[in-house]
Symmetry: C2
Subunit: 534 residues, 2 copies
């Protein structure tokens, strides 16, 4: 592979990065600029290495509707690094109208005569910045419309995927670039199981292509169908670039079954204080020549340090025991000492790296099993407020689980960005609300599932119209149903009919009313299925 | 002036438009696309007339934080019409770093080597799309960062304005373009009165410049200092382009005192059903040669028709009288007949104009003084639901005012976009809340004024952080005050001190507490003044 390090006219140089989460904690006085600073660093690496293009694996933005500041910073950085006179030395030989069909300008930005692009960006969307709402737009569409990003891997169908690769050629090297923007894992899992995912291959010289695939899904198993097993992916692939997972495992790992490599670049910002995020963060400089590749790791300089350590109080009975009167002070002093050591370690690491932010993220997980008690952390936080970026949540108290009944794996939850933890909770809350609400308080024309999804959309994606849209949808459905029963279109009568329906539903209870609608309209089951797929 | 219609190398051709309000009612099933369609038309006129540049007078967007759809449509239309190979035939000879100092790319977009601009846009911001929040950004900043708009007329100071013109030259014609983005009228009024507004003039050949000024303020008097009198403006000006006012009065009107002309293009979309908005809408094609100008009116084809009429029931006692038992039906039939006539008139007008939307806006103002009663409009609306764009608010019932005490002029209010009416209401509601709240429920650390402003910001501009920012500001202020009293920085003591303060304030009542704070800190008055100016 050493020949690959020599750049020549046949060698693609591609910068790969993912999960940049622009705007994450942007209001935080200490960490507010972290994502923008690191995005700037990433783009600078692309420029300095004179890559042919940048390939992003989704979640460029943390929020589905990025703040004005986040969008402004992104536009600024992209315009600064993506434009200029450096010639583009590769061609696109696939049908761009197919590859970029969802864009208003369905061609690659560097071939637009009005834009002087030096470093094109290709990106799929992630789960944080996926298309939502009636307009089906996502944040990348704004960048694409501004001519700064080539957004690919987007599908309109929820049952079937047919992926046409972007076919790239530089000298004698040919890359087929496949991608799927984030889709709910269960849905994509089902599509794979039902053999509804097809990756189209160029007819000519099938063997001459280097086949790359960008995916933004769970790679680790979160429940039976809540991830995408690597063996689902076609074995003609050469390299899979896996987004969404935040732990940096960028060195390509060979899947011995499928005979392809998987690189998982990981996020460029720490979005949860879990062990996976403490792994040193990198981006990759991928070289492809013919069907050979080399991936050079580039450590990111601007990423805030994150140190995590575990202590088990029961292992230190030489220092304190639960019975001592002043055990709490001793434990506090012990934890304080640990954090001091971690801070020293962080400072040693930071030496000679002026780009690294001064205050590290510190997490000390304290196992207090065996009769110890957690203590309030306010005063503890106060001691580190000027030296740690996260003074309020340095300490995390845990205890051995006594039984295995509690099936929630909090570590696993924590390895996801925090807003996804929130997702689960909101869903649960909505479910609980509808389950425990008085029967006559239940919304008779609205389904629990539909309402739950609408509320979740409202919370997660700031889709202010999600609930209104659902209600309109359900109202229209009801009106259609009433019209089909040949109720004359006088408003009084519709009102009367609706009132009757409501009284009946309330009387019969929600379950029976549901059955009745199913029987009468014959459409309800379909609609439930349709909602499932949203 | 006829020579001016001949375009030559010395003649500037400028398209002027204002108050496009992109995104206004974008969720409306009938009117949702109106603003985008008309913006497209405006830009098409610019292209077809091969203008040198487009000059916008503010309120390009209706919402301070435009929806993703609004921003996307805007980017799409601008990229489509502003980019291309048409050469730019004029120069900027002023210091661009001054003119566009607030931009990350402080130079005119058509001189950026990476952008192929055919038709540059110059714009000030309006009151709907003004800079807000901690980042001080506005929607135009995103467009400016994307290289599609040249945003000027922005000031950082709230007490003093020094306006450096953009100096433009085409052949022998020289234009000095001044602008002020929207500022609260009272504040700008005060600055003018205090002689804090300075318009800088080029030293050389002072008399050779055509001086243009773009302003987005109240032109009609809304209270003593809540507008900008024309005589405030410097008399060296040749043409004032007045945004904000929605009525099209585009034909330049001479101010005989100041000896300049004022053109008020008016909005390109009807945002309120008031007489001013019923005036036929135009944009302008301004030609400037030497110090002569000519303004050609271009009627907009895509604007939804709006017909407004008044009826006074008491004038039709030949048809009905309040005493008749079926007077309500007769009045309804009468109104219905009126609306039918208006619809016929609209249809005649629309004949031969395929670009005009089919359903017009109709407003019938019914004066029911003299013993008549208003009727519920639901059934009335139903009759026109398929033929009128605003079926729900066709009718507007009014009555002669008996006394003149009620000083609110609703017509004047209605001539503003509806969200500004809302502004007033929110402010009133907040004030009322704080005035009527139980004394012990009042927020002791927060001022009414500050909270009122924060809530208004939250509502109007969707500044989600406005309230949080205010609270942090007040907390910090309190902490600073406590620290200055040399209270030791132990959290418990601060808590205790705060509790004491609160108890004291509750006991003394809000007014006395306010006096006490003023006396102790000596800073409170300044802060109030500071808040005034925000």
């Amino acid at each position: 592979m050493s020949a690959l390090v020599l750049d020549d006219e046949d060698t693609f140089k591609i910068l790969i990065a993912t999960d940049i989460h622009l705007g994450y904690l942007e209001k935080d006085a200490v960490r507010g600029n972290d994502t923008f600073v690191t995005f700037d660093e990433i783009m600078k690496h692309a420029k300095e290495n004179e890559v042919d293009f940048i390939l992003l694996g989704g979640d460029l933005f943390h929020d589905n509707k990025p703040s004005r500041k986040a969008m402004h910073s992104c536009l600024e950085i992209m315009r600064k690094y993506c434009m200029g006179d450096k010639p583009i030395l590769f061609d696109i030989i696939s049908d761009q109208a197919v590859n970029f069909g969802s864009s208003r300008f369905p061609w690659v930005n560097y071939q637009d005569e009005n834009l002087n692009i030096s470093t094109p960006i290709f990106s799929v969307h992630g789960n944080h910045d996926d298309p939502t709402g009636a307009d089906g737009l996502c944040a990348l569409d704004l960048l694409s419309c501004a001519g700064l990003v080539n957004h690919f891997g987007r599908s309109r169908s929820v049952e079937k995927l047919e992926i046409s690769p972007i076919l790239l050629q530089k000298g004698s090297t040919k890359i087929a670039l496949y991608g799927i923007g984030s889709i709910p894992d269960e849905r994509l899992y089902r599509m794979f199981v039902n053999k509804q995912v097809t990756m189209l291959r160029p007819r000519e010289d099938e063997e001459s292509w280097f086949n790359m695939f960008v995916i933004h899904q769970n790679r680790s198993k979160h429940g039976a169908t809540n991830y995408i097993p690597e063996q689902f992916l076609d074995d003609f692939l050469d390299l899979v670039i896996w987004g969404h997972e935040h732990e940096c495992k960028i060195t390509p790992a060979r899947n011995e079954q499928q005979l392809f490599y998987v690189t998982q670049p990981g996020s460029s910002v720490v979005t949860s204080l879990s062990p996976g995020e403490a792994v040193k963060k990198h981006i990759g400089l991928l070289r492809v020549k013919g069907r050979k590749m080399n991936l050079q790791k580039i450590p990111l300089q601007t990423v805030r340090q994150f140190l995590i350590e575990d202590v088990t109080l029961a292992n230190h009975t030489d220092l304190f025991s639960p019975e001592q009167p002043n055990v709490m002070q001793k434990v506090q002093a012990f934890c304080q000492q640990k954090v001091e050591e971690m801070l020293e370690e962080a400072e040693r690491d930071r030496l000679g790296n002026p780009l690294m932010p001064e205050k590290p993220l510190i997490r000390l997980r304290v196992d207090y099993s065996g009769g110890f008690e957690p203590f309030t952390t306010m005063r503890f936080s106060q001691k580190f407020v000027d030296r740690v970026a996260n003074p309020k949540d340095i300490l995390h108290f845990t205890r051995h689980r006594e039984s295995k009944d509690n099936a929630i794996d909090f570590d696993m939850l924590l390895s996801r960005p925090s807003s996804e933890v929130l997702q689960l909770r909101v869903e649960d809350l909505v479910k609980e609300y509808f389950q425990t609400a008085e029967k006559n308080m239940q919304l008779s024309l609205l389904t629990e599932q539909g309402m739950g999804k609408a509320v979740q959309e409202y919370v997660d994606k700031e889709e202010r119209d999600a609930i209104e849209e659902l209600i309109n949808y359900q109202l229209e459905k009801t009106q259609r149903y009433l019209q089909e029963r040949r109720v004359e279109a006088s408003e009084e009568k519709i009102d009367e009919e609706e009132r009757k329906e409501k009284r009946k539903e309330v009387r019969d209870g929600a379950d029976e009313a549901r059955e009745e609608l199913t029987g009468l309209g014959g459409r309800r089951e379909d609609e439930v299925r349709e909602q499932d797929c949203r």
